[in-house]
Protein backbone atom coordinates (compact mmCIF):
# COMPACT_ATOMS: atom_id res chain seq x y z
CA UNK A 1 0.00 0.00 0.00
CA UNK A 2 1.18 3.53 -0.77
CA UNK A 3 2.58 5.17 2.33
CA UNK A 4 0.32 7.90 3.62
CA UNK A 5 1.65 11.31 4.54
CA UNK A 6 -0.19 13.66 6.80
CA UNK A 7 -1.58 16.75 5.06
CA UNK A 8 -0.58 18.65 8.20
CA UNK A 9 3.14 17.91 7.77
CA UNK A 10 4.18 21.48 6.78
CA UNK A 11 2.33 23.17 9.66
CA UNK A 12 2.10 20.58 12.46
CA UNK A 13 4.11 21.88 15.44
CA UNK A 14 3.67 20.18 18.82
CA UNK A 15 3.69 23.14 21.19
CA UNK A 16 1.86 24.91 23.97
CA UNK A 17 -0.31 27.85 22.98
CA UNK A 18 -1.67 29.27 26.20
CA UNK A 19 -4.34 31.96 26.19
CA UNK A 20 -3.94 35.51 27.47
CA UNK A 21 -4.20 34.41 31.11
CA UNK A 22 -1.70 31.60 30.64
CA UNK A 23 -4.07 28.64 30.82
CA UNK A 24 -4.57 25.62 28.56
CA UNK A 25 -7.96 23.93 28.36
CA UNK A 26 -7.76 21.58 25.38
CA UNK A 27 -5.31 19.45 23.45
CA UNK A 28 -5.35 18.98 19.69
CA UNK A 29 -3.81 16.07 17.85
CA UNK A 30 -4.00 14.16 14.61
CA UNK A 31 -5.15 10.59 15.18
CA UNK A 32 -5.90 9.37 11.65
CA UNK A 33 -6.37 5.59 12.02
CA UNK A 34 -4.80 3.11 9.64
CA UNK A 35 -8.15 2.40 8.02
CA UNK A 36 -11.29 4.47 7.60
CA UNK A 37 -14.13 2.69 5.85
CA UNK A 38 -17.69 3.61 4.98
CA UNK A 39 -19.96 0.57 5.28
CA UNK A 40 -23.45 0.95 3.86
CA UNK A 41 -26.39 -1.35 3.25
CA UNK A 42 -29.47 -1.41 1.08
CA UNK A 43 -32.72 -0.18 2.70
CA UNK A 44 -34.08 -2.53 5.34
CA UNK A 45 -30.85 -4.50 5.85
CA UNK A 46 -29.41 -2.41 8.67
CA UNK A 47 -29.30 -5.30 11.13
CA UNK A 48 -27.26 -7.40 8.71
CA UNK A 49 -24.87 -4.49 8.29
CA UNK A 50 -24.38 -3.96 12.02
CA UNK A 51 -23.91 -7.73 12.43
CA UNK A 52 -21.13 -7.60 9.82
CA UNK A 53 -19.48 -4.68 11.62
CA UNK A 54 -19.68 -6.61 14.88
CA UNK A 55 -18.18 -9.73 13.31
CA UNK A 56 -15.17 -7.79 12.00
CA UNK A 57 -14.56 -5.22 14.75
CA UNK A 58 -16.28 -6.74 17.78
CA UNK A 59 -18.26 -3.50 18.16
CA UNK A 60 -21.96 -3.82 18.80
CA UNK A 61 -23.47 -0.80 17.04
CA UNK A 62 -27.12 0.03 17.44
CA UNK A 63 -29.29 0.59 14.37
CA UNK A 64 -30.72 3.85 15.73
CA UNK A 65 -29.74 7.16 14.10
CA UNK A 66 -26.42 8.66 15.31
CA UNK A 67 -25.51 5.48 17.24
CA UNK A 68 -21.87 4.55 17.69
CA UNK A 69 -19.35 2.63 19.74
CA UNK A 70 -15.71 3.21 20.58
CA UNK A 71 -13.50 0.17 21.08
CA UNK A 72 -9.82 -0.42 21.55
CA UNK A 73 -8.13 0.77 18.34
CA UNK A 74 -11.41 0.66 16.49
CA UNK A 75 -14.61 2.71 16.33
CA UNK A 76 -17.87 2.79 14.42
CA UNK A 77 -20.67 5.31 14.23
CA UNK A 78 -23.70 6.11 12.15
CA UNK A 79 -23.18 8.88 9.57
CA UNK A 80 -26.52 8.61 7.78
CA UNK A 81 -29.41 6.25 7.16
CA UNK A 82 -27.95 2.76 6.61
CA UNK A 83 -24.37 4.12 6.60
CA UNK A 84 -21.58 3.76 9.16
CA UNK A 85 -18.05 5.08 9.39
CA UNK A 86 -15.77 2.37 10.73
CA UNK A 87 -12.13 2.84 11.67
CA UNK A 88 -9.49 0.36 12.68
CA UNK A 89 -6.57 -1.73 11.53
CA UNK A 90 -5.05 -1.65 8.06
CA UNK A 91 -6.92 -4.71 6.76
CA UNK A 92 -10.33 -3.45 7.93
CA UNK A 93 -11.67 -2.72 4.45
CA UNK A 94 -10.79 -6.15 3.07
CA UNK A 95 -12.18 -7.93 6.13
CA UNK A 96 -15.46 -6.02 5.97
CA UNK A 97 -15.77 -6.65 2.23
CA UNK A 98 -15.39 -10.38 2.84
CA UNK A 99 -18.23 -10.39 5.36
CA UNK A 100 -20.57 -7.89 3.70
CA UNK A 101 -22.01 -9.40 0.53
CA UNK A 102 -23.11 -7.27 -2.41
CA UNK A 103 -26.67 -8.34 -1.66
CA UNK A 104 -26.39 -6.64 1.73
CA UNK A 105 -24.37 -3.52 1.02
CA UNK A 106 -21.11 -1.88 0.07
CA UNK A 107 -17.72 -1.12 1.59
CA UNK A 108 -15.80 1.99 0.56
CA UNK A 109 -12.21 2.47 1.74
CA UNK A 110 -11.74 6.14 2.68
CA UNK A 111 -8.39 5.72 4.46
CA UNK A 112 -6.57 8.01 2.03
CA UNK A 113 -9.45 10.47 1.79
CA UNK A 114 -9.97 11.47 5.41
CA UNK A 115 -7.89 13.00 8.18
CA UNK A 116 -8.86 12.59 11.81
CA UNK A 117 -8.37 15.22 14.50
CA UNK A 118 -8.85 14.70 18.20
CA UNK A 119 -10.04 17.55 20.39
CA UNK A 120 -9.93 16.76 24.08
CA UNK A 121 -10.16 18.66 27.31
CA UNK A 122 -12.54 20.52 29.51
CA UNK A 123 -13.42 23.18 26.91
CA UNK A 124 -13.67 20.84 23.90
CA UNK A 125 -17.45 21.29 23.69
CA UNK A 126 -17.07 25.06 23.90
CA UNK A 127 -14.48 25.24 21.10
CA UNK A 128 -16.39 22.90 18.78
CA UNK A 129 -19.60 24.82 19.42
CA UNK A 130 -17.94 27.82 17.78
CA UNK A 131 -17.54 25.85 14.57
CA UNK A 132 -20.58 23.58 14.30
CA UNK A 133 -24.27 24.39 14.80
CA UNK A 134 -25.03 21.24 16.77
CA UNK A 135 -25.46 20.55 20.48
CA UNK A 136 -22.31 19.00 21.98
CA UNK A 137 -23.67 18.64 25.53
CA UNK A 138 -23.33 15.06 26.84
CA UNK A 139 -27.09 14.82 27.48
CA UNK A 140 -27.84 14.88 23.74
CA UNK A 141 -24.44 13.79 22.37
CA UNK A 142 -23.32 10.93 24.63
CA UNK A 143 -20.04 9.02 24.40
CA UNK A 144 -19.85 6.81 21.31
CA UNK A 145 -22.46 8.62 19.26
CA UNK A 146 -21.65 10.26 15.95
CA UNK A 147 -22.85 13.30 14.03
CA UNK A 148 -22.48 14.29 10.39
CA UNK A 149 -22.32 18.05 10.05
CA UNK A 150 -20.37 20.80 8.33
CA UNK A 151 -18.37 23.92 9.14
CA UNK A 152 -19.23 26.18 6.22
CA UNK A 153 -18.43 23.85 3.31
CA UNK A 154 -16.01 21.65 5.24
CA UNK A 155 -17.90 18.46 5.88
CA UNK A 156 -17.11 16.77 9.20
CA UNK A 157 -18.11 13.52 10.80
CA UNK A 158 -17.73 13.74 14.55
CA UNK A 159 -17.69 11.03 17.19
CA UNK A 160 -17.62 11.63 20.91
CA UNK A 161 -14.90 9.15 21.84
CA UNK A 162 -14.76 9.99 25.54
CA UNK A 163 -16.50 12.23 28.06
CA UNK A 164 -14.42 15.26 27.07
CA UNK A 165 -13.00 14.05 23.76
CA UNK A 166 -14.18 14.28 20.15
CA UNK A 167 -12.73 12.71 16.99
CA UNK A 168 -13.37 14.70 13.82
CA UNK A 169 -13.08 13.08 10.39
CA UNK A 170 -12.66 15.69 7.65
CA UNK A 171 -11.79 15.46 3.98
CA UNK A 172 -8.05 15.19 3.59
CA UNK A 173 -7.90 18.06 1.08
CA UNK A 174 -9.54 20.41 3.60
CA UNK A 175 -7.61 19.09 6.60
CA UNK A 176 -4.85 21.70 6.69
CA UNK A 177 -7.29 24.61 6.36
CA UNK A 178 -9.56 23.09 8.98
CA UNK A 179 -6.65 22.51 11.36
CA UNK A 180 -5.83 26.23 11.17
CA UNK A 181 -9.49 27.06 11.86
CA UNK A 182 -9.50 24.69 14.83
CA UNK A 183 -6.34 26.25 16.27
CA UNK A 184 -7.80 29.75 15.85
CA UNK A 185 -11.01 28.69 17.58
CA UNK A 186 -8.95 27.23 20.44
CA UNK A 187 -6.83 30.35 21.05
CA UNK A 188 -9.40 31.79 23.45
CA UNK A 189 -9.18 28.85 25.87
CA UNK A 190 -5.52 27.99 25.30
CA UNK A 191 -4.43 24.75 23.64
CA UNK A 192 -1.60 22.31 23.30
CA UNK A 193 -0.75 20.49 20.10
CA UNK A 194 0.51 17.01 20.88
CA UNK A 195 1.82 14.06 18.90
CA UNK A 196 -0.72 11.24 18.95
Amino acid sequence: MVERQSPLTPIFRPAVHSNDVGSISITLSEVTPLSIVEAACWPGLNERLTAAIQEVTGLSVDTTPNAGVVGRGTAAFSIGPDRYLVSGEEDLSARLARVLSEETGTVTDLSHGRTTFRVSGTRAEWVLSKLFAIDFSPAVFPVGEGRATAHHDIFAQIQRSDAAQFDLYVFRSFARAFWNTLCTAAEEVGYEVIEA
Binding site: P43, R83, A148, F155
Partner: protein, 93 residues
Protein backbone atom coordinates in the same frame (compact mmCIF):
# COMPACT_ATOMS: atom_id res chain seq x y z
CA UNK B 1 -34.86 28.20 9.93
CA UNK B 2 -34.37 24.70 11.33
CA UNK B 3 -35.26 21.53 9.44
CA UNK B 4 -35.80 18.45 11.65
CA UNK B 5 -33.91 15.80 9.68
CA UNK B 6 -35.43 12.35 10.40
CA UNK B 7 -31.91 10.96 10.91
CA UNK B 8 -29.91 13.80 12.44
CA UNK B 9 -32.54 15.82 14.31
CA UNK B 10 -33.05 19.59 13.98
CA UNK B 11 -30.31 21.27 11.94
CA UNK B 12 -29.91 24.76 10.57
CA UNK B 13 -30.90 25.42 6.99
CA UNK B 14 -27.30 26.08 5.85
CA UNK B 15 -26.67 22.32 6.08
CA UNK B 16 -29.43 21.64 3.52
CA UNK B 17 -29.70 22.10 -0.23
CA UNK B 18 -33.03 22.91 -1.83
CA UNK B 19 -33.79 20.36 -4.53
CA UNK B 20 -37.02 21.72 -5.98
CA UNK B 21 -40.77 21.46 -5.96
CA UNK B 22 -42.01 18.01 -4.88
CA UNK B 23 -45.58 18.49 -6.06
CA UNK B 24 -45.04 18.13 -9.80
CA UNK B 25 -45.02 14.79 -11.59
CA UNK B 26 -42.94 13.99 -14.63
CA UNK B 27 -44.92 13.15 -17.77
CA UNK B 28 -44.33 9.79 -19.43
CA UNK B 29 -40.86 10.10 -20.96
CA UNK B 30 -42.26 9.19 -24.38
CA UNK B 31 -45.03 11.78 -24.11
CA UNK B 32 -45.19 14.47 -26.81
CA UNK B 33 -47.80 16.49 -24.91
CA UNK B 34 -46.23 19.94 -25.06
CA UNK B 35 -48.57 21.39 -22.44
CA UNK B 36 -47.71 18.59 -19.96
CA UNK B 37 -43.99 19.14 -20.46
CA UNK B 38 -44.37 22.92 -20.26
CA UNK B 39 -46.21 22.57 -16.93
CA UNK B 40 -43.61 20.12 -15.60
CA UNK B 41 -40.60 22.20 -16.55
CA UNK B 42 -41.81 25.78 -16.05
CA UNK B 43 -45.17 26.16 -14.34
CA UNK B 44 -45.01 26.65 -10.58
CA UNK B 45 -47.99 27.55 -8.40
CA UNK B 46 -45.74 29.50 -5.95
CA UNK B 47 -48.22 29.15 -3.07
CA UNK B 48 -48.33 31.43 -0.02
CA UNK B 49 -48.67 28.65 2.54
CA UNK B 50 -47.71 24.99 2.90
CA UNK B 51 -45.51 23.68 0.08
CA UNK B 52 -44.06 20.22 -0.56
CA UNK B 53 -40.37 20.45 -1.42
CA UNK B 54 -37.34 18.24 -1.96
CA UNK B 55 -34.38 19.05 0.27
CA UNK B 56 -31.08 17.23 0.70
CA UNK B 57 -29.23 17.20 4.00
CA UNK B 58 -26.05 17.74 2.00
CA UNK B 59 -24.05 19.04 4.97
CA UNK B 60 -25.07 16.14 7.19
CA UNK B 61 -26.37 12.62 6.57
CA UNK B 62 -26.83 13.40 2.85
CA UNK B 63 -30.36 11.95 2.81
CA UNK B 64 -32.92 13.36 0.38
CA UNK B 65 -36.04 14.57 2.16
CA UNK B 66 -39.56 15.68 1.36
CA UNK B 67 -40.33 18.72 3.49
CA UNK B 68 -43.67 20.47 3.84
CA UNK B 69 -42.79 24.09 4.60
CA UNK B 70 -45.01 27.11 5.06
CA UNK B 71 -43.59 29.66 2.62
CA UNK B 72 -44.90 32.56 4.75
CA UNK B 73 -43.46 31.55 8.12
CA UNK B 74 -40.84 28.84 7.30
CA UNK B 75 -42.69 26.61 9.72
CA UNK B 76 -41.96 22.96 8.91
CA UNK B 77 -45.14 20.89 8.99
CA UNK B 78 -43.72 17.53 7.95
CA UNK B 79 -40.39 15.87 7.03
CA UNK B 80 -39.83 12.40 5.64
CA UNK B 81 -37.14 10.52 3.73
CA UNK B 82 -37.80 11.06 0.03
CA UNK B 83 -36.79 7.54 -0.85
CA UNK B 84 -39.81 6.09 0.98
CA UNK B 85 -42.22 8.16 -1.15
CA UNK B 86 -40.24 7.57 -4.35
CA UNK B 87 -40.11 3.82 -3.72
CA UNK B 88 -43.87 3.77 -3.21
CA UNK B 89 -44.35 5.69 -6.48
CA UNK B 90 -42.03 3.23 -8.24
CA UNK B 91 -44.01 0.26 -6.96
CA UNK B 92 -47.26 1.79 -8.18
CA UNK B 93 -45.88 2.55 -11.66
Amino acid sequence: MLIPCPHCGPREVSEFSYQGDATRTCPELTSTDVKAWYDYVYNRPNPAGPHREYWQHSGGCRAHLIVTRDTRTHEIHDVAFARAALNRAGEQA
